[in-house]
């Protein structure tokens, strides 16, 4: 079933050129030279005004339903607008305006909208689009992003794809809007693999599951006969590595999404766990149990050669590469309590980076390096609470994003701005997934069909 949902979606995209407007386009950014011509040198006589306080708030944006290119396209036009609205709303950076407030009805995206009617409802940005079924069965999606105050087109694009991929088109358009208005890469066209939990607490069935980042299109990859833990995406988003308790010791597996094939990574005598791909996708780093302790090993997926990275009488686990592949952060109790260490990717001297200022007994675990490289996220346990936090790779700038009982297992969105983690309220309930901004804002529950834990965010699909 999910085979056809792989990333092999044929999408062709073209830029939509700006429409000819009545008003002159505004010179911004690199128009410095032109600026000098427009405003000749103004001596010191000119007044300077400094604005240091702004309105820190989500950007008001209007997203009308996409115009139907043919009568049959009305439904998909509404659906695309809804997916975009939901994405931008959940990001916490945008405030989509209720469609009931709209004054102008967009009927043709090839003519500029009436900006005054959008200013009236305080929209700062406007998205117009059209979905059209082509003669060859493909779906054409077009959109334009408008700056309402300046009255100019910020970006425009058209895509051709199969009709069943309309949701992904909506995610891709969401990313374009997000990127143009925030300057950050988007993260909407991505997926999350997680452990779906169902059944009574003492007989919990755990299945590997895959879904879009917004909770749609949930698919189950395993049947739940065996316990699964810590799934992780490959950089190509085509494979997942995870740990599974089978008949014997727990093993690290590799799962190919497109084919549904799975295989054991290496054939080691003891327990192997806590796997993660290297940034180039060519190898898997993991922990191997050796007696009462465990060490880090990396295995090349093609040559199957294994390299030992640590050799200590302690438990070294939860390794994660820096995005450039040069360093590894991991968890180790070599100093007594579990803490986070950083070492070169080839092994060698490890440096402890986690030092709690408020609680010397705090335990740090599950480190994961941001795709942007600027932060390492972790679970911190101390004072009877489990917290999700981030710190810089040198251990400075620790920032706790959320605390309580019980939070664990952070994973970064592809743009490194949002974290997903799971929270278990205890009692008879079960865990569920949450997202939080790396500034600690905008904590939101991620909709899942049942209980869910151990999320891992994929890179962007396209």
């Amino acid at each position: 079933m999910f085979l056809e949902m792989s990333q092999q979606m044929p999408i062709t995209s073209f830029c939509l050129p700006p429409l000819p407007l009545n008003r002159r386009n505004i010179l911004i950014g690199g128009a410095g030279a032109a600026a000098g011509l427009l405003l000749p040198s103004l001596a010191g006589a000119q007044t300077k005004l400094q604005i240091t306080e702004g309105n820190v708030a989500p950007l008001p944006i209007a997203i009308p339903n996409f115009v139907a290119g043919s009568p049959a396209d009305g439904e998909v036009g509404v659906g695309v607008a809804q997916v975009i609205t939901n994405n931008l709303q959940r990001s916490g950076l945008f405030a989509p305006i209720d469609q009931a407030a709209f004054i102008e009805k967009i009927v043709n995206i090839d003519t500029p909208p009436q900006f005054q009617s959008w200013k009236t409802i305080n929209a700062q940005a406007l998205v117009t689009g059209r979905m059209t079924r082509q003669g060859d069965g493909r779906l054409k999606a077009e959109f334009r992003l408008w700056d309402v105050a300046a009255g100019q087109q910020l970006t425009g694009q058209q895509y051709f794809t199969s009709p069943e991929y309309w949701r992904r088109i909506a995610h891709i358009i969401s990313d374009q809007i997000y990127e143009r208005l925030t300057g950050e890469k988007g993260y909407f066209d991505s997926r999350v693999v997680f452990v779906d939990e169902s059944g009574a607490k003492e007989r919990r069935v755990k299945r590997l599951a895959l879904m879009d980042q917004d909770g749609a299109n949930v698919r189950y990859l395993t049947k739940g006969a065996d316990l699964v833990l810590t799934p992780r995406f490959s950089p190509s988003t085509q494979e997942i590595t995870y740990m599974e308790f089978g008949q014997g010791d727990p093993r690290v597996y590799l799962y190919r999404i497109e084919t549904g094939e799975r295989e054991i990574v290496g054939n080691f005598p003891g327990m192997s766990f806590s796997p993660r791909f290297s940034p180039d996708g060519q190898s898997v780093i993991m922990s191997l149990q050796q007696g009462g302790n465990s060490n880090l090993f990396v295995m090349d997926l093609r040559s199957k050669s294994t390299t030992r990275l640590t050799d200590t009488p302690a438990i070294d686990t939860s390794p994660s590469y820096s995005p450039d592949g040069a360093r590894i952060c991991f968890e180790s109790d070599r100093g007594g309590k579990p803490q986070i260490y950083v070492m070169p990717a080839t092994g060698g001297a490890a440096q402890r980076i986690s030092f709690s200022k408020d609680d010397s007994n705090a335990i740090y675990s599950t480190p994961v390096w941001s795709p942007r490289g600027d932060y390492i996220a972790f679970t911190k346990q101390g004072g009877g609470q489990f917290s999700i936090g981030i710190m810089k790779p040198d251990g400075s700038g620790e920032r706790i994003l959320t605390s309580g009982y019980h939070n664990e297992g952070p994973t970064f969105a592809p743009n490194g701005r949002v974290l997903m983690f799971f929270r278990d309220p205890g009692g008879n309930g079960g865990p569920s997934l949450f997202t939080v901004d790396i500034s600690g804002r905008n904590e939101l529950r991620v909709p899942t069909p049942g209980f869910a834990s151990d999320p891992a965010w994929s890179p962007l699909l396209s």
Binding site: G29, A35, L39, K48, L49, E53, A57, Q124, A149, S439
Partner: protein, 314 residues
Amino acid sequence: MKVDKTLIASVALHVLVIGWGLVSFSARSLEAPPPESMPVDIISADQLSKITAGIKTGEKDKPKPLVEKIADANPADDNVGKITEKKEIVTATAPEPPPKPVEKPVEKKPDPPKPVAENKPKDEPKPIEKKPDPPKVDPIAEALKSEDAKKPVPKPEAKAAPPQPPKPKQERVFDQSKIAALLDKRDPTRQAFTGSALNSSASLGSTHGTAATLSQSELDAMRARLASLWNVQPGVEHPEELYVTVRIRLNPDRRLAAPPVVVSTGSSPRYQAAADAAVRAVLQGQPYTMLRDETYDQWKYMDIDFDPKQMFHS
């Protein structure tokens, strides 16, 4: 040889003259701009008190123009006179009406002109003496005979007119008896005051020895307007990289004469987004109604810095 000397002399003189001209003209141009822009800080201490202070000084500086214009406003003065009369009548009538109503109107008719006479002499004692004159037509004859009518002529005319109307109006008041409401009398007095306020505001420009300066309150108001419209992305990382300066040129109608121009530099997508947000705020803020006409020279060109750094200290 002699020709050369004259040439040298003429060249030397030209150089001197031109050099002097360059120095003196450039010096003048340099001196002009600085005094206008700076003295803003003094004003910032108390906004309201200084606004009212400005009006008071305006009135004190120009008593004469006020008098001249009051010629039109004199009917308002009549209303004032009526009110003072009526108040006295009411207080006097309240206790006394039952005994002898007929006698009072007779007594009151002579009374009202007296208070009017008393009030006016305080301001200008001379016109009262002239009041008996107008019926005799002497002032007109004098005016015709005199070389220039000047100020005395209009004053007697204006004041000659008012004393006549009050008498019939007083009769009307008596006809309405006690029913006339005090509220009706207060309203016209307020209108008369507003008439005087216009004169004081007009005097602001001329009384100043220095040019009008862009006050701190104007800048604060503009800053507040832009701050309310400047939409800053929540949770921005490295806000110090997003410092944007927007240069604007404003028309006297307080709207942008040209699209705002970002004069700071930055090429990253994040910077582009920040620059767009700053430009949006400037575009949405117009017209900047808080700016005064008198200070146009100082807000014609403005550089507006948008600095998000302080908003994300933690």
